[in-house]
């Protein structure tokens, strides 16, 4: 096979690298989540392209069709997509609350949180 024969895998690799770069290099949390989404999507494409059977039709029982694409990867990736949506939702919810607590979602402005920057909410009890 030629290089172009692996077209889908090139797409997967490029998307994956863009996503990882976004997660690592961007300070903005929303951009990090977008990068994470891209990264996951690339894996979805990897999985889905594994299920393609050359010349296969949609996996629905009907007359005159002998070769089906493999439906299993689709089912699995549906689950993975749901997981991805849930992660995005939790990530965005955290970003909203970080914005409310710190006033920013830029990593650079948050500084390192090694030191205490506020008292615990618990009151002292004797």
């Amino acid at each position: 096979m030629t290089v172009l024969g692996f077209f889908n895998y090139w797409v997967v690799i490029i998307l994956m690298m863009i996503g990882l770069y976004c997660v690592i290099a961007r300070g903005n949390m929303i951009k990090k989540i977008i990068g994470l989404n891209l990264f996951q999507t690339s894996v979805f494409i990897l999985f889905i392209s594994a299920g393609k059977v050359v010349g296969g039709s949609t996996p629905i029982l009907r007359e005159g069709v002998e070769v089906y694409s493999n439906p299993l990867p689709h089912v699995l990736i549906l689950t993975a997509i749901v997981v991805g949506v849930a992660i995005t939702a939790v990530g965005l919810a955290l970003a909203v609350r970080i914005q409310e607590a710190y006033g920013t979602i830029e990593d650079d402005h948050l500084g390192d949180d090694g030191e205490d920057d506020g008292p615990f909410e618990e009151e002292q009890r004797g």
């Binding site: 949609t58 629905i60 549906l78 749901v82 939702a89 965005l92 919810a93 909203v96």
Partner: protein, 149 residues
């Protein structure tokens, strides 16, 4: 966005169709592509379109937040209890054969019930996620409007 006539009319037109399509996917899930996940998301999308155009308050009148929350847990429980029925009637967990006498009928009954649970949970959870984010924004706007005074 309520003032925009085009949006309002198109939405009034589209929302029933979206809901219908959602139900179609839901109830054809056991023998053709479809099922609870997809149907739930489609139904929720219809509701979100409604909320975007008529406002969150109107949308929450259609289905209050508490109801969504209860329904989300109900869907999970429906799934779990259908699975348990298989055990109680002498099979394995999620085993549908003991549920009804006919093999095909039993499988279809089991899958439809389980997928209904999935659909309800997915739809309500997606709505809940939207509600929480949307309400944050309106609270935020209310806060920032108060601040300058």
């Amino acid at each position: 966005m309520r003032e925009n006539g085009i949006l309002r009319i198109v939405a009034r037109f589209l929302i029933p169709l979206i809901m219908l399509f959602g139900l179609y996917i839901q109830f054809h899930g056991e023998y053709s592509p479809g099922g609870g996940f997809q149907a739930g998301v489609v139904v929720a999308a219809g509701w979100i379109l409604f909320a975007l155009i008529y406002g969150l308050e109107a949308a929450l009148k259609v289905i209050p937040e508490r109801v969504m929350y209860v329904l989300a847990a109900f869907g999970v429980l429906l799934y779990a209890i259908t699975g348990l029925m298989g055990v109680i009637l002498g099979g394995r967990y999620l085993d549908f054969y003991p549920l009804l006498p006919g093999e095909h009928a039993a499988q279809q009954f089991g899958i439809i019930t389980v997928e209904f649970g999935v659909g309800v949970t997915v739809a309500t959870v997606v709505m809940l996620i939207f509600t929480y984010f949307a309400r944050r924004k309106s609270e935020w706007e209310a806060l920032s409007e108060e601040e300058p005074e």
